[in-house]
Structure formats: C-alpha cells, structure tokens
Amino acid sequence: MDFKKVKDFYSKQIAELKVTGNSFLIEEIKNSSLNEFNSASFPSTKDEEWKYTDITPLLQKEFFIAKKVKDKINIEKFIFNNFPQNLIVFIDGIFSEEYSKYEPSNFQIKNLTSFTNDDITFLQDYFDISGSKKNIFTIMNAAFAGEGFFIYVPDNTNVELPLQILNINGYSNNALITPRYFIYVGKNSSLKIISNNRHFSDNSYFVNNYFDLRLARNSHLDFYNILNENSFSYNFTNILMERESNLNHFSISLNGKFIRNDLTAELNDENIECNLNGLYLSKSDNLVDNHTEVIHAKPNSNSNEIYKGILTDKSHGVFNGKIIVAPQAQKTNAFQSNRNILLSKDAKVDTKPQLEIFADDVKCSHGATVGSLDENSKFYIKSRGIPEDIANKMLLKAFACEIIEKIEIKDIRKYLTSEISNLLTEKKSLDN
C-alpha cells in the first residue's frame, strides 16, 4: 500500500479547497494544517496505538468532500423524536439549514462559516490542541474544517432541552465528511447533547468527526455519541474538565464497517466526576476500536469507565484504556472495566488496560473479560419455556443494561435495546 500516494491525493484536495467562511483565519488554519498534514504520516499496525487496527481498507478508497444536497430527503426516521429538543442536521457533513430547528434562547449555536476575524482568539484556541494529541486524522479534520459548530453555554445557565446533532452520512458515494464541534459549558451550567450519526444508504464514505468538549467549573454535560454507520468512521473526542465539573459520556457504536474512537479526558482540577460509558456492537467482518485515555492531573477526582461490547460473525473489537495519574493527583479514584460477549467463534476482541500511576495514595482498579453468554443463565430462562433466541436477547439485554439504564432519554434506551435484538436476528453464522 502506497501511503504517499494517498497523502498526495488528500493534500491536493485540501490545497484546492475553497474556504467558505468570512474569516481569513480559517484560510490560515487550512494552510497550516495542510503543512502539518504533509509532514504527518498514516499509522500502520507497527504503530503501538494502531497495532490491531489496519487502516489499509480506508486508504484504498478515495473520498471527496461532498456537495450540498439539493433533493428533499426524509430525515424523520433518523431522529430521536419523542421529546422537545433542538435539532441541527448535517447531510454528508454539510450543515442543512432547512432541516435544522433550533431556538437557542439561553445559549449560542454558531456555524463555523459565520465566524469573522473578531473571533480570532476563540478560533485559535479551538484549533490549537496540544501537539501530542494531534494525529493525521485530527489534522485532516482541521484542514477540511469548512463545516462545524460552536455550542456555547454561558455561565449559570441550565439548558433544559437536549440538543440533537443529526449527521446523515453516505447520501452521496465516497463522501469525505469532516465536521468539527466545539462545545463549551460555562460555570455552573448544564447541557445535554445527542450526536446521532446515521447512514443514508449503502454508499461508502469516510466520516472524520472531531468533538471538543470543555466543562468549566461546576458544570454538567451529558454527551451521547451514537454511531450507526455503514462505512468508515473515525471519531476524536477531546475532553477538558475543570474543578467540580461532571461529565456523563456515552460512546455508543452500533454499526460500521470500520469504527475507531479516540477519546481523551483531562481532569485538570479537583472534585471532578468523569463517567465514560461505552457500548459497542459489531457484526460481519466489521471492526470497532475504542482507545480511551483518562488523565488525572490533580487530586480528589473520580473517573469511572465502563465499556461493553457484543460481537458476532467475524467481527473484531479492540479496547485500549489508558489511565494516567499524575504524581500530585493523590486521592484519585479511577475505575475501568471492559467486558465483551462473543456470539460466534470467529469474533474476537483485543483488550488492554494501560495504567500509568505516579501517585501513591490512589484507588485504581481495572478489569477486562471476553466470554460468551452464561450457559447457566440461559438454562434458567429456557427452563421456563422461553426459546433460545429470546433467551439470548434477554441475556444481551441483561449484559448491556449496566450502560443502558444510565441513559436518561427513553427514546435512546429503546433504540439501543432494539439494535441489540437486531444483532441476534441478523447474526450470519449460527455456530455455537
């Protein structure tokens, strides 16, 4: 595989990209990102962070920035609908005014293209993530970032209505989709966001999402990233948390040929509560890879990470959970668990905790399991006359409920439960 050729292909696209915003700064970001892109390289499986995840299939295809969709499309079926909310819709990564409905009364939603040079400091901060976190995909996202949203909640503001960001992907074939979201929750404020990523068709596409979540002092954010993709999906989530802030993050990967989620959470002060919940399903010969990193920089904070996976057919799951506890971060509580159920003998999971603990007075625990559905539990259910397939569904529900019951939005809970059932129905090989 000639990685150089692939880079040249995207490099040329970036160079020819017309920046739509009012700001020449975006032009600058594009140019500097292009330079960075040119000197970065695509990872191979020799890379420790990409050991189990081969991106060759992604690089073998050529993706292009999509054009704005003019046709009327039915988006209803994709929306979580049964509650009042604000809605922002993107189709193939391009903001769609006509389908979006939002009335931010007490917070701001701003399209990247509407920024001007007055917003320079804001923009610079937004794009300037520290060097160590950058990788070729995040650089690519910045370089292509013509589209994106700033969601800004001022201090002392509770945003009651959840905000749903609906991304409908794969309307056109070979779309390159690179939205970037910056979410800031001010002091003593709260916000709920549902990032709802769906596929329109069987087209192939490449989504490269970038989420920047910042929680100011004593703020609260519930964030659901729900992926029901069909093709390639890369998601980078950068989380910065200040004193007494509280995050409930849900990384839900339901489907996708190739999914890689990189998430990094920095707990930069004391008394922070960071809850990372993950649920991933995979089938056929799909790949789902979750790499997470939790950094405890200061004392007295808690992180609680639970990722659960259900895999069938010949699918492959990867979990790598890093916890870093800095020398001064005494009295840290860091908990991590990764549990996996394999529904077929050809499915597999590579799971690895990575603990780097430099403080001595901390409570850290981690655990990982890969197994199949418990035979004794299955026997119990079947002994009540319940057939095998329903018994399996019940047991998967039981397995996932630790995550699902933490979700406050009923629509999402129902959706996940039915997706889990579908996984069994669609299961291709019926081996033991």
Binding site: E375, F379, Y380, I381, K382, S383, G385, I386, A398, A400
Partner: protein, 246 residues
C-alpha cells in the same frame, strides 16, 4: 406421569447418577433426600434437560413420551418446571416481561392465544398475594438484588403462574427463615392438585413438615438406596444418613 428407568448420567465425564429408578403418578409428592454431593441437583437438572449433563444409559418417560431428544424449553412446554437451588439474576429484564414471555410461550404450546395484559395482571396479582409478595416485584429485574428468600419466593411465583404438570423443587427451603418457609410451602401446596406432581429435592427434613410427601427416597452416591413413606424423612432427621449406608 414420570417414569425414570435405570438412569445413568455424567457431568464433565464424571458419572454422577448410577442407575436411578423412580415412578411418579399424578397427585403425588415425592421427596428425594440425601447428603451433599449425592446427585440430587444433578437429577433435577437432568430431568429439566441441562445440556452439561449427559444421559449415558436408561430413559426418562414423561407423560408416556421419551423426552431424551427434547430441549430444555420443549420440556418446559411439556410441563416440567424446575425451581432452582440458585435462581439466576437477569438485570434489565423485569419480572413482568419475563413471566409474560414465559407464560405466552407455554400458552402457545397449548394452542391458547397470548394473554391480554389485564388478565395477566389479575393472575399475577392473585398469585403474588398467595406468596405475600409486594407489588414492587413486578417491575424489578428478575432476581436482581433479591435476598435468598425473595429469590425462592419468586421461583414459586413462576411455578404458580406457569402451572406445570411436574414441579421439581431443588432445595427450595434453603436460605428461608421459618415464616418464609411457611409462605413458600403454602405456595407449593396451593399449586398441588390431583393432576400434577411434585418432586422435592432436599437436604433437610424441615421442608417436608410443610410439603408432606407421599414417598421419600434416599439418594446416595447416585443411587436410590432406600424408599419409604413420610416417616422415613423423620427417621433420617433423627439418625442422619449414616445408618442406611453400607
């Protein structure tokens, strides 16, 4: 109703049951007693069709049919019910939906329509009253976080709801205080009628004060070494198992 002929069974290659013969008629209560490890739970599991247990010889005839080829759920639908020694917890699945799913599967077998919700709730409330169970159990996840006694009560609730022909009770008295034991036993006695039967597997005689057996069998090392009437249970209680061994 049930005829067990010269039954041998193994678990993980180890022979546990070594030639069991037992016959149970409608309306009867049989007790199987025996020391720990004698194979009581194994027998119950073999009858219910647990696939860890392999029948290597002999046969089980239930309602005139050899059930060797029947799966666990098919046996349940035919009317065999096992109240577990250690009931399983199923988080995220409510007692309500679990019981309703099970009941409808069994009704399907008997060519009955799905039960409607109102009728189901009436039935459930009636049965729960017998067991002195609180309404909150309806919406709680199956056995999750239940105390030992609550789990046993829940087993008997399922028994009362599903109304099988043959109830296998595996150590149903274990973990129960005397009040709970009375309630649970009463549940079993409510279940009993002239068309069904109970096979109670127990280590102790205690349960048999409340669920009075017609026959008592002593299981030792995978064989029934003695059978008798209900007095045999009292004798065992008094003298222990040693006196019949040998």
């Amino acid at each position: 109703m049930l005829k067990i002929k010269n039954l041998y069974a193994t678990v993980e290659g180890k022979e546990i049951l070594k030639g069991i013969n037992l016959e149970i008629q409608e309306g009867e209560v049989h007790a199987i007693m025996g020391p720990n490890g004698s194979g009581k739970s194994t027998l119950a599991n073999v009858l219910a069709g647990h696939n860890n247990y392999k029948v290597t010889q002999g046969e089980i005839i239930f309602e005139g049919k050899n059930i060797f080829d029947l799966s666990v759920e098919e046996r349940a639908k035919e009317g065999i019910f096992l109240a577990f020694q250690y009931p399983v917890e199923i988080p995220g699945v409510t007692n309500y939906s679990f019981l309703k799913t099970a009941l409808n599967e069994i009704r399907k077998q008997n060519n009955l329509e799905e039960i409607d919700s109102k009728e189901f709730m009436d039935l459930l409330n009636k049965k729960m009253k017998i067991l002195d169970m609180d309404d909150v159990f309806i919406q709680r996840s199956v056995n999750q976080g239940f105390s030992g006694g609550e789990k046993k009560r829940n087993e008997i609730l399922q028994l009362l709801m599903l109304e099988p022909k043959l109830a296998l009770l595996d150590e149903t008295d274990s973990g129960l205080d005397i009040d709970a034991l009375k309630i649970v036993s009463n549940g079993v006695n409510v279940f009993r009628n002239k068309n069904n039967a109970v096979l109670a597997v127990t280590h102790y005689q205690r349960l048999l004060n409340y669920i009075v057996p017609d026959f008592v069998h002593v299981l030792s090392k995978g064989r029934i070494i003695k059978s008798g009437g209900k007095e045999l249970a009292l004798e065992l209680e008094e003298k222990g198992y040693d006196w019949i061994k040998g």
